[in-house]
């Protein structure tokens, strides 16, 4: 028995029609579309254009179907840019360099675009980058950069160093007469030469009985330089300033760089001490606690 509240009884008389997904296959579409008033529902079986309703103020005689004139596409940007881009793409598709075409109108050619890994912050030489950051006080990077360029100027103007045979520099170093005119090389050579090759880690309580176990370990170039710069900066900060003004720090630092190259600096002693400790603690690498320690990780 049917329920009294079955809605289908009243709903059966309603026509359910779907909206056409592609409405104008057989209609002269755009023209017809143009005349359809807004808000008019388009049904799938609508064949002809319905007459316009007279619900507005306009009398029906004034609405005459206009002949269709296609509106030009509104350009969002100058079209030649697109053309250029398309031409470049075509060139790239043909296996040629797409940038050649773009560089045609430029006076000095296309500048080399930065690669994906390039960062603005890394635009300097790695040694310069590192030393600038380590000189920096209170976050004043541009002041540190000023100091670094003054240090390089100090190296440019100081007489060529006299290299001591007791403290050999890195192999392959240029003769000292060439150093002042290449201050970056001068600085790099000093720092790299005095940099230690190991770090001695002191593992707390590993030797048993609460005493620490010293273990040497190799370090990478950046860490080596860091240690060397720390030593040099230690000495520079302790050195008494004999001048004043903006050049005095650069002069102190530059003097220390020169004395490193000449083998007079105390940084060499610290390097030697560290290497001695490293050599002595080499035996600890086979320490059972350490072997266990390594196995644990």
């Amino acid at each position: 028995m049917a329920s009294k509240i079955n809605p289908w009884r009243s709903l059966r008389c309603l026509a359910v029609r779907t909206r056409p997904s592609r409405a104008h296959q057989h209609v002269p579409t755009v023209t017809a579309r143009a005349v359809v008033p807004l808000g008019m529902r388009g049904f799938a079986d609508t064949i002809s254009t319905p007459p316009p309703t007279n619900d507005g103020d306009l009398p029906p005689s004034e609405i005459i179907p206009q002949p269709y004139e296609p509106r030009p596409i509104e350009p969002f940007a100058d079209n030649f840019m697109n053309e250029e881009a398309i031409a470049a793409l075509e060139q790239a598709a043909a296996g040629q360099d797409a940038l050649d075409l773009i560089a045609e109108g430029l006076k000095y050619g296309m500048p080399k675009p930065p690669s994906k890994q390039d960062q603005l912050q890394n635009r300097h030489h790695p040694v310069i980058h590192q030393i600038t950051r380590m000189l920096m006080r209170d976050g004043k990077l541009s002041k540190a950069e000023k100091h670094v360029s003054l240090i390089l100027n100090y190296l440019r103007t100081s007489p060529p160093p006299k290299i001591s045979p007791a403290r050999p520099l890195l192999p392959g170093a240029p003769p000292p007469e060439q150093l002042p005119l290449n201050p970056l090389l001068y600085l790099t050579l000093a720092i790299d030469s005095v940099a230690p090759i190991v770090r001695v880690r002191s593992l707390k309580g590993m030797a048993g009985g609460g005493s620490a176990l010293d273990v040497p370990e190799p370090i990478d170039a950046r860490a080596r330089r860091r240690q060397a710069i720390i030593w040099i900066l230690d000495i520079v900060n302790k050195k008494r300033s004999m001048g004043s003004g903006r050049k005095q720090f650069a002069a102190r630092f530059g003097q220390e760089i020169v004395s490193v190259v000449e083998g007079r600096s105390a940084a060499w002693d610290r390097r030697q001490l560290l290497h001695k400790t490293g050599t002595a603690s080499r035996a600890n690498l086979a320490h059972p606690a350490l072997v266990g320690f390594k196995r644990k990780f």
């Binding site: 006076k107 300097h124 360029s149 440019r156 100081s158 007489p159 002042p180 005119l181 008494r240």
Partner: protein, 465 residues
């Protein structure tokens, strides 16, 4: 349950008294003191050793920050300032640049020498050094010997000066321009022109030295002005040193009866300058020298001052009534401003040069307005009017700068920039290829050729090359 025995020696508490000698004997051994920090032991240690605690390792020690005193010799008085002010004009590491001409009095006015690098003659370098035209902030120390770029403004200025002096007129000119555009260097080139042409060159290297109350001053008798005796002595010595050759050819013509020193007619002007080193007599003698210079038949004068803004304001000196003194009431400054303002007549021709500074200069609205008005008048435009709501315009500044010529120094052109960069590269300071592209790039990077910015971009560049 607590043990009745001692943990350490397994003795009963009642027996410990008997063992006391043993424990005292053991106290000196390190093994027995592992947990004992008794005051008794500490005091006995302190009395025996007295200097340090036995354990220096893992213990909080306060007051460790004591620095051992610096054993090195402290700098002598004045040494630190000498370091700051030191002028180094040569660098033996830099390469010698062959094929460059030496600056001459004809070359500096020749339009063809625009965009070329010239060496400064040795004697001119000495003179420029004596009158402190070189500044420690300039990069002379990087190069083998002092060379300078002759730019369009240089030739223009030198031509204006020589033309005016040939006609026995007075050129009153103010050099303006952006920061780092080369105003002081242009002033130096003007001084070099003066030395090359055998004019009497008087240079006040820093206007602020006169007005920041850093040198002594004294009221001039019978006037409201103040003289600066020590500075005047220094200036007289500098003038004597730099212009000795010119001044020794002219003899004193006037009677200087009022002077505290005896001046005879057979004394040369150089001798007059050198006659006294006594600060008390300096100002009257300098005044007498100035009077002698203004007589007809004397050599032309080039009077230049760097840092114009500093002398266009109220100085930091105080009058006896403890009121601030206007800079123009300082007699040496007054001498310059009278010359720049056209109050002094120069029968032999003169060039009065005021060089403004941008790096270290106070804001002087009167001076800026007066220079803007002078520049507009020079171009034949309507001069900009004063701000009607600004109360503090200084009429004396306007009087001083009325009718001066203005030379606005801007960036160098690309050809001049190329000459400069090629010189840097030839000296071995700049290690890169110089071609049209790199010159154009650096020129653009430096704000269309502002020279100090070019130095920053090119010489102080830290980039990986």
């Amino acid at each position: 349950m607590a043990s009745t025995n001692c943990w350490r020696c397994l003795a009963r508490p009642s027996q410990r008294l008997l063992l006391a000698p043993v424990s005292v004997a053991a106290a000196s051994a390190p093994t027995s003191a592992t947990f004992s920090t008794s005051a008794q032991q500490l005091s006995s240690k302190a009395s025996s050793d007295g200097s340090k605690h036995i354990r220096s390792g893992k213990r909080l020690v306060l007051g460790r920050k004591k620095r051992n005193p610096d054993r090195t010799k402290p700098p002598q008085p004045g040494e630190r300032k000498a370091f700051r002010k030191r002028i180094q004009l040569s660098n033996d590491n830099a390469l010698k640049v062959p094929g460059l001409d030496v600056l001459s009095s004809e070359g500096v006015v020749n339009p063809e020498s625009v965009g070329k690098i010239f060496g400064l003659p040795v004697e001119v370098v000495d003179q420029l050094r004596a009158c402190e035209a070189f500044k420690s902030s300039q990069n002379w120390s990087l190069f083998r010997s002092p060379h300078t770029l002759v730019r369009k403004e240089t030739v223009d200025l030198a031509k204006q000066m020589t033309d005016a002096i040939e006609k026995k007129e007075t050129l009153r000119l103010v050099l303006t321009g952006n920061r780092g555009s080369g105003k002081s260097i242009l002033g130096l080139q003007a001084l070099a022109t003066g030395f090359l042409n055998k004019w009497v060159v008087i240079n006040i290297p820093e206007g602020q030295e006169l007005t920041t109350a850093s040198t002594e001053y004294a009221p001039t008798p019978n006037s409201e002005m103040f003289s600066q005796p020590v500075y005047t002595v220094k200036l007289m010595q500098a003038i004597h040193q730099t212009n000795h050759q010119v001044l020794s050819q002219h003899k004193v013509q006037l009677d200087h009866m009022q002077l505290p020193i005896s001046v005879t007619r057979n004394m040369t002007l150089a001798g007059l300058l050198n006659a006294t080193k006594e600060p008390d007599f300096a100002w009257p003698v300098f005044q007498a020298f100035w009077k002698e210079l203004l007589l007809p038949g004397r050599p032309p004068i080039l009077f230049s001052l760097d840092g114009l803004a500093h002398i266009m304001r109220i100085s930091e000196y105080r009058s006896p009534a403890f009121e601030l003194i206007h800079s123009h009431d300082l007699s040496l400054v007054r001498m310059f401003t009278d010359a720049l303002g056209g109050k002094t007549a120069f029968p032999n021709g003169a060039a009065i040069l005021g060089v403004t500074a941008k790096g270290n200069a106070p804001m002087i609205p009167s001076m800026e307005k007066a220079i803007a008005q002078a520049a507009a008048a020079q171009k034949g435009e309507e001069p900009p009017s004063r701000d009607p709501f600004f109360r503090k315009y200084d009429e004396r500044v306007f009087d001083t700068l009325r009718g001066v010529k203005v030379l606005d120094v801007r960036g160098v052109s690309k050809t001049e920039a190329r000459a400069l960069m090629e010189y840097w590269a030839a000296s071995g300071i700049l290690r890169s290829r110089i071609d049209e592209r790199s010159v154009s790039e650096k020129w653009t990077m430096s704000g269309n050729g502002v020279v100090a910015e070019m130095e920053r971009v090119v010489l102080h560049d830290l980039r990986e090359t």
